[in-house]
């Protein structure tokens, strides 16, 4: 799969994003890393230009509840409904439900193993093959 790993907003901590990018590469995926401080519009643009199947958003700045929904909306507005959105970083439990409702399919916090992320992606692939909703513009409800 082609996966964009992005850092939205004013957040300079990208160790996690880079580790994830490498883990995904080692899992056989083509990973496009955006670098720091991208706006939601830029991230949507990158997903379109790269024709990525998924985007992973890393946030440690506390702005996840603003930035992540904007990326989701932008993708839907650009007819990229089948793109899979997942997130990681510091996202407290009480903020997660609203992000899932926005179409985010997984949120990975500290301590997540790369094996778990690979399992998530293969589950996504199975679901998508059997016609179950996984994309950001498809029916919300299921998440990892």
């Amino acid at each position: 799969m082609r996966i964009v790993v992005a850092k939205p907003g004013l957040d300079g901590h990208d160790r996690g994003a880079k580790v994830i990018a490498r883990a995904l590469r080692d899992g056989g995926h083509e990973v496009i890393y955006t670098g720091l401080r991208r706006t939601p519009d830029e991230i949507v643009r990158i997903v379109i230009d790269e024709d990525a199947g998924a985007v992973g958003l890393s946030s440690l700045s506390g702005a996840h509840s603003v930035l992540i929904p904007r990326v989701c909306e932008g993708l839907r507005a650009s007819k990229m409904d089948n793109v899979i959105v997942f997130a990681g970083g510091i996202i407290p439990e009480y903020d997660r439900e609203s992000l899932y409702a926005e179409g985010v399919r997984a949120i990975f916090g500290p301590g997540t193993t790369s094996t778990e992320i690979m399992e998530f992606l293969s589950t996504i692939e199975q679901r998508s093959q059997s016609g179950n909703p996984v994309g950001v513009g498809e029916e919300a409800g299921w998440h990892w």
Partner: protein
């Protein structure tokens, strides 16, 4: 109308999503809907870490300021072990993600047999058809397979840095003979002048009208980048370099054919046993082709 034709029509009308989907189809081996070779491209290559992507980022800024659109195909190697790839070139082209005049597509080499990335020609054609003024192909010029990738471009810009004797490596790999223009990046560093001199002296053997110019630029400060962009407009290739590029393309197509031959395994086994000679092996595969 087929999917491809529909996508092409929408892409021509300026729909980025359709353009992007069309490039994916071609990358996955779908035939190009266009006549081959209608677009032309600039290949940008050089050793790892010399600042190719940063320099391209600055060049993009100048083109965009002048109202010209730029599309970049940034090629990075796939991991031979996992088949995955980490594509990070666009993070150095910082202003590029928000302009409608810029399109960047990261591509993995996907370990094509023989280094053949035949899809590049089709991608350049599509971008050209969709009205992109400048089309760049960026590759790391570190080995034979990368040279073969950049040989698909119509003009080649070689980027080098001031340190580590990179150019010597580039010479070894044979990129210098393919370059139509050479720049030494990081001209703000003290060793840059010396690097430029040594490149010039390497080129001066057998110098004639077609010997490539050597410029100094700094992607960091932006110095010299405007001159570079201007000079690219007039950069000509030579018959010798054109022939070298065509030769590289032919060799990659040949390797591709060889590595995809149905006779490959049995020929390898016969060679292992010593029951045929190398020449007989070549003849056998040629017959099959």
């Amino acid at each position: 109308m087929s999917d491809v034709d529909e996508l092409l029509e929408a892409a021509r009308a300026g729909d980025r999503r359709s353009l992007s989907k069309l490039l994916t189809l071609v990358e996955d081996g779908h035939n190009s809907p266009l006549e081959r070779g209608i677009g032309s491209s600039l290949g940008i290559t050089g050793p790892p870490g010399v600042g190719k992507s940063s320099l391209i980022g600055k060049m993009i800024d100048i083109w965009v300021e002048r109202g010209e659109s730029v599309a970049v195909l940034a090629v990075d190697p796939s991991s031979p072990r996992s088949g995955g790839a980490l594509l990070g070139d666009r993070m150095r082209m910082t202003n590029a993600d928000s302009s409608d005049l810029v399109f960047i597509r990261s591509l993995a080499t996907r370990n094509h047999p023989g280094g053949l990335m035949d899809c590049l020609t089709a991608m350049v054609d599509i971008l050209s058809e969709c009205g992109w003024d400048k089309i760049l192909i960026e590759t790391v010029g570190a080995g034979q397979s990368e040279i073969r990738v950049v040989a698909f471009a119509d003009r080649i810009l070689l980027v080098d840095g001031p340190d580590r004797g990179d150019i010597i490596q580039a010479e070894k790999a044979g990129i210098m003979e393919l370059a139509d223009l050479i720049v030494i990046n990081k001209s703000d560093l003290p060793e840059a002048e010396r690097a430029a001199k040594s490149v010039k002296s390497a080129l001066s053997v057998g110098e004639d009208d077609s010997t490539p110019d050597v410029l100094m630029v700094s992607a960091h400060s932006g110095e010299g980048v405007e001159d570079l962009v201007d000079q690219l407009r007039n950069t000509k290739t030579s018959a010798d370099r054109e022939r070298l590029r065509v030769r590289e393309r032919l060799i990659s197509a040949w390797d591709y054919t060889l590595l995809n031959s149905t006779e490959l395994d049995s020929t390898l086994q016969a060679l292992e046993k010593g029951s045929i000679t190398l020449q007989e092996a070549v003849d056998r595969i040629r017959k099959e082709v």
